[in-house]
Symmetry: C2
Subunit: 355 residues, 2 copies
Amino acid sequence: MQNYNLNERIPAKGYAVAHKDDSFKPFSFTRHPVGENDILIEIAYAGICHSDIHSARSEWREGIYPMVPGHEIAGRVVAIGSKVSKFKVGDLAGVGCMVNSCGECEACKKSQEQFCQRGQTVFTYDCKDCFHGDEPTYGGYSNNIVVSEKFAIKVPDGAPLEKVAPLLCAGITTYSPLKFSKIKTGSKVGVAGFGGLGMMAVKYAIKMGAEVSVFARNENKKVDAKTMGVKNFYTTLNGVDECFDLIISTIPTPYDPMDYIQLLKYGGELAIVGLPPRDVSPDINITSLVFNAGKKVYGSLIGGIKETQEMLDFSLKHEIYPETEIIRADQINEAYDKLTSGRAKFRYVIDMNTL
Amino acid sequence: MQNYNLNERIPAKGYAVAHKDDSFKPFSFTRHPVGENDILIEIAYAGICHSDIHSARSEWREGIYPMVPGHEIAGRVVAIGSKVSKFKVGDLAGVGCMVNSCGECEACKKSQEQFCQRGQTVFTYDCKDCFHGDEPTYGGYSNNIVVSEKFAIKVPDGAPLEKVAPLLCAGITTYSPLKFSKIKTGSKVGVAGFGGLGMMAVKYAIKMGAEVSVFARNENKKVDAKTMGVKNFYTTLNGVDECFDLIISTIPTPYDPMDYIQLLKYGGELAIVGLPPRDVSPDINITSLVFNAGKKVYGSLIGGIKETQEMLDFSLKHEIYPETEIIRADQINEAYDKLTSGRAKFRYVIDMNTL
């Protein structure tokens, strides 16, 4: 363990892109000192999320550079501020998509910090931290992170950290809409898109007692799906003659949401968690919605800190993990290429010991 | 009362357009004989609904001509089939947007006949009646109608028929989403668009105990709204600092649904019941939905027969009626002009004694 002076800026190193067309290169920087409510985590693993790619390449909006992505972070607490009570040095901890928020508005009080009504949600990277002089935030492709204890997730000793890391985005993103739509034993759930997010949605839905069907582009993963307990595996929407309480769309490419809305029961819901780049993001026409009345559509965006903890506890208890492939820090560029070209089979997780 | 031979086609007269650019002219036709489960109603009043105009002018899809619109019908039963049990001759009765459906599918069994899963919902006009050799249906701008008793609404003696008629579309269209979204005492409801539908939505929501705000284009009806018990009356979306459990959009012209979605609470719902013509009907982008996560959108399309009866009973009990203006049958063209140009203040109801 390194020695840190908690009252000074914390030296850190990681991998960054300098602009949207850049490749990842080693990058040294500092993080703000460990405040009285902060903890310092030495990062063991950081997952690579598809949204890291969209952000690094400024596909949703213009990014803040240099950018160190990464919001699927797991590691060990190596220092704590004077008022920290939730963690002690040596504990395992995780960090997901957020590192701070106002804590005082109605949304924050309900632990929906991602919707902070003062607009003070501080995202883990590619964001200005209004609580620290608007300094840019740097994510998990690095050796450490300083975070408010409220925004760190407790991870029990012995948990597989390389699996915990990707749960903090891929897990909560799919767990949250299942809870929001009150899925229970006997619910009929459809999962559209069967990549990393889709697989997690399937695992949670099955564990919650739902009858699950998958909509995928091809039959590659049909056997995997059936092994997981999926009832129907569709590669076309023609001839689907079941209706769903909930369909979760994890599709990251252009498609017509009405195709799925039409498959809902009266009162059923389409939850959208996958996001194509904005310039090809599909629309839903309100006339079509009215002629498919009584079917609800909503977007879902990660989940709050309380629910993230609940998701992690549920995942560990039921051993629900993503399929992961561990890579070295110098393989990030290669991983991005594979993810972009659809050649990635599993969730890439960077082993930070290789930094 | 006229004498009818129930086993032969029933002579009828009304007002029709011969094509989408035509004006209304007197029209004689016949209706199918009164079957064993049918009733024959002599129509006293028929409301003019904005969707009559869209249909007559083929603005949603190519219409079936000659067309006799009208799906807000109230009158008196003058003959019944041999197996009719719900009505006797002399009863008052109403007919809304539908006159038949399969009765056997899951949706019909739940009295959501407008969503008949066999596609056999027979709409009151501008539709082919698959239960009667695909003959075209003719609506309420006429002196009588033959309808399956299941699709007729019971109206108690003494009810104001000229007010009952428009309830059968404008009433159910606004009552249904309030029930679907489980509005109760203390709910915060916004009503966007303050025409005939909007006013009904406000009246029902207030009677259900909700705190109601209105979004209107101008201040013309602000005093009316305040008299009805509306809390806030907005003519601009700037500076609105309340959040809603439900917003019902009755807006029939182009607008941006996201403006209203942004005003919802987490878990709040936007119900769309107003429909601009299809070529200017707005879209909702799914990326915007995700970044306004946890806010649901759905369309609502009239309501089932059981709920229509419930709405009518509720309306009569609480004396919730639309503002109406009675016109003669030869004033339909004039009424359409006023409705289209926004000069109509109230719901037009045709007095069929003037035919």
